[in-house]
Amino acid sequence: MGFILIALIILIGITSYFLGNLRAKNLRTSNQKNLKSLSHYYGYYVALWAVVPALLILLMITSFKSFFIEQYVLSDFIALGSYTETELSLLFTQIENTAMGIKLFDENTILIDGAVNKLNYINKTSENLTYVTVLGFSGLLVLYSIFNINHKLNSRKIVEKFLIVLYFTCSLVAIMTTVGIIFSLLYETLRFFSQVPITDFLFGLNWSPQRVFVREAGDLDTRDLANAFGAVPLFAGTFLIALIAMCVSVPVGLLTAIYMSEYASPKVRDWAKPIIEILAGIPTVVYGFFAALTVAPLVRDIGQGAGLTVSSESALAAGFVMGIMIIPFISSLSDDVIKSVPQSLREGSYAMGATKRETIVKVLLPAALPGIVGSFLLAVSRAIGETMIVVMAAGLNAKLTANPLDAATTITTQIVVILIGDQEFDSPKTQSAFALGLTLFVVTLALNFIALQVVKKYTERYD
């Protein structure tokens, strides 16, 4: 019903644009007086009155409707006073399903029959009521605004003001997103820390939240919670995998950037640069599949050939593939930085008889260092926040290890493992995922901030 109503509102909006336009033209010809704005602005003016309040009312109705319907349908049960909140909402779902023809109750009591009837009745009424209110409002405002048009009204100003407000609201979405992220993470995290001390979370060595899940039936004492939520193995695993990724991507990315900016002919550049950037455009789930199905068995076979025991979900495989994914981040950022070093520095160095390598290593790299370090930091923050590769190719069990051939798990992996599928919301297990998310958010933000500061502070200004 929502779509039809919105379509109707839009239809009214289009019609009222023409009405407003027409009215303005009529005024112009009949009064022989100039209006303050061009005719079509009066059209927009009327259309805005027709559409915007109606949409706002519709939004309000849809967001509060379900609450009122539930109150009304359950009023008899609430009057009894013997139900808790959760029981009531369960009851409401059952009544809803019964109304749809699914038999849920063993015996239909008068109360339930009454509630089902009430639900059917209120659903129908509220739908009709919504149509009448919204369309009625829209129509009334169209009439009001049309009669409001006269040669003193400057509709252009009103329309432009509205647009500015609209644009400003859109730009606030970014702030609202940030606030939403921080609020949702903090809310759950604080509830988590009210049950598990923050020090246990940050310094504990044992991560096994599923144990809480198993023990849920019995009462869980704090010592158990403390032992289950030590995130150090996750931090270590994240660090290990990110380190492996950086070991692959830093040399390759940097050398590629040097080649692109200093050695390659324009033709090679034009071909190679976009191809390497493909690596950045490939969805991470593809890398995950590649790591789990091709690279991990390969690493295992090679390792076993050399007489080592390699886990089939080794950190090495996940880290290596992640490193390949990150190459373009480092190479294109560093490429830009190296290219932006002024030509005069290069020429000065060549004039002193330095070879290309000496110029690059001793002149260009030091000059470009802040930018390059910045790109490394951005790459690290990428590696830490990367999810799908580690979910698919790294281990799921938290184990404190520094051996790259062993299975290691990461922060992101655990978030997914905990939150995938059905979760009950009041368990510390679910909340721990939000605490991990907050950690991740803070760390990546800090890395990006530091990267920006490094670039800003240490970049040399030439000319």
């Binding site: 379900s66 432009e160 647009l163 644009y167 859109c170 730009s171 970014a174 702030i175 997103t177 939403g180 992220i181 609020f183 949702s184 993470l185 040399p251 050398l255 590629t256 080649y259 050695y263 390659a264 493909i278 690596l279 455009g281 490939i282 969805p283 991470t284 789930v285 890398y287 995950g288 599949f289 590649f290 789990a292 199905l293 091709t294 390949i324 190459i327 373009p328 070879t355 290309k356 390598r357 000496e358 690059i360 290593v361 830490i384 926040g385 999810t387 799908m388 698919m392 992101t412 978030i415 997914v416 939150l419 995938i420 599928g421 919301f425 998310g437 991740l440 958010f441 933000l445 990006n448």
Partner: protein, 427 residues
């Protein structure tokens, strides 16, 4: 004297050699990066292309055994045909391939050469051809996943019998069928049309393609106007003050937030606080639009900034208001850049998986979704789901899904490049 010259020459040679070495390292690094692009694509394509055709086995179905006169089918409605009991009849039709086998166990093995929906397939054939059914009709039935994989050569036949899923006697049947020319390939249309299934030979990406389309549609509807309006405000109208600075810092930070954090936002706020339905493209689209907004805003701002001030000033000089100058003259010129940014943002959203896992778009959905409010998967999530399955048949399906995903991404990026080439104005 000669000593010093020799020394000089030696050191020069050393320097030149290290120059050469360095160059080789650089070329090596770049070739390494390029090689992995190639390896990745070859790997996916070589294991994925075979999912686009499937093995079918030709079976003669004697419809006369089901009914006395086959012309009667034309008078039956679809419902009547659905009510026909066809299971044992269908099995008998398959037994006719090998009339000699008597043992129940062998018969069961024979049936297992086919996908479990063989009865349904015969019924569908009957429904769509009910007006002209002959006494015996030749129907191509889908082979089971094991047979399909053996036929494509993906499955090793020389393992011990107890180590493989397909038994010796089934291989015997299969080879005989091949010799009789009853086994053939056809284009795997069901793979493109159907939803997910627990049986690899019946699983399709249709559901997740539609899910992805709905998600992208929601992203487009939300993030395109919001992104462009926000960019216009920040670039053209925003006063230089703390609020504006704060908004800008926020946008830049959001661009760097890991995608999984947006999943947590979706779970905590959109699902639990606002109570929108789980697992739906609507919620997925909202979460992904929040994620892609910074990309669109940053790209649009860059292209607005690239519009020369003379255009703005020209419009203002002939009496346009600020709003008119921007909306009639600056924005149209900056539109190609904004569109390019939007398409790139959409491509990002299309390939994103992690946030969708958290808002429950990993549900096992058999039906192709009809609206953005139906539970569904998306293409990358389908890749994740199938990659967790053990059956050999899902490997090629996963790779094929990746191929389609990459295909869509390449198309979108090509579109972005073309728009930029065609409409970009040089000043």
């Amino acid at each position: 004297m000669t000593d010093r010259i020799e020394q000089r020459i030696n050191s020069l040679n050393k320097r030149l050699n290290s120059e050469k070495r360095f160059r080789i390292y650089c070329i090596g690094a770049m070739s390494f990066a390029l090689a992995w692009v190639l390896i990745l694509f070859l790997n996916i394509f070589s294991s994925g292309y075979s999912a686009f055709y499937r093995t079918v086995i030709q079976v003669d179905v004697p419809f006369l055994n089901l009914i006395e006169d086959t012309t009667q089918f034309s008078e039956m409605s679809s419902e009547d045909i659905n009510n026909l009991s066809m299971y044992s009849f269908s099995k008998k039709a398959i037994y006719r391939l090998f009339p000699d086998i008597e043992e129940k166990k062998d018969k069961k093995m024979l049936i297992r050469l086919f996908s479990i929906e063989f009865e349904q397939e015969i019924r569908e054939f009957l429904k769509s051809n009910k007006s002209n059914i002959n006494e015996t009709e030749t129907i191509y039935l889908t082979a089971s996943d094991d047979v399909d994989q053996v036929n494509k050569g993906n499955y090793p036949r020389d393992l011990d019998e107890d180590k493989r899923r397909i038994k010796d006697i089934q291989l015997l049947f299969f080879d005989d069928l091949v010799d009789r020319g009853l086994v053939s390939y056809e284009f795997n249309l069901p793979f493109l049309m159907r939803g997910d299934s627990r049986e690899p030979e019946l699983a399709g990406v249709g559901g997740s393609i539609v899910g992805s389309l709905f998600t992208i549609l929601v992203v487009l509807i939300l993030s395109f106007p919001i992104g462009i309006f926000a960019a216009i405000y920040l670039e053209e109208f925003a006063p230089k003050n703390k609020v504006t600075d704060f908004i800008e810092i926020n946008i830049n930070n959001l661009a760097a937030v890991p995608s999984i954090v947006f999943g947590l936002l979706g779970l905590g706020i959109i699902l639990n606080t606002f109570g929108l339905p789980r697992s739906t493209p609507l919620v997925g689209g909202i979460v992904l639009s929040l994620m892609t907004l910074p990309t669109i805003i940053i790209a649009t701002r860059a292209s607005l900034r690239a519009v020369p001030p003379s255009i703005r000033e020209g419009a203002l000089a002939v009496g346009a208001t600020k709003m008119q100058a921007v909306m009639h003259h600056v924005v149209p010129v900056a539109m190609p850049g904004a569109l390019t940014g939007t398409i790139i943002g959409l491509a990002q959203a299309l390939g994103e998986t992690a946030p969708l896992l958290l808002i429950g778009m990993v549900a096992f959905v058999v039906d192709v979704p009809q609206t953005p409010l139906d539970a569904s998967a998306s293409l990358p999530v389908q890749v994740y789901l199938w990659s967790e399955s053990a059956e050999r048949g899902y490997v090629e399906k996963t790779s094929a899904t990746i191929m389609m995903l990459l295909g869509f991404l390449i198309l979108m990026n090509l579109a972005a490049v073309l728009i930029r080439r065609k409409f970009e104005t040089k000043w």
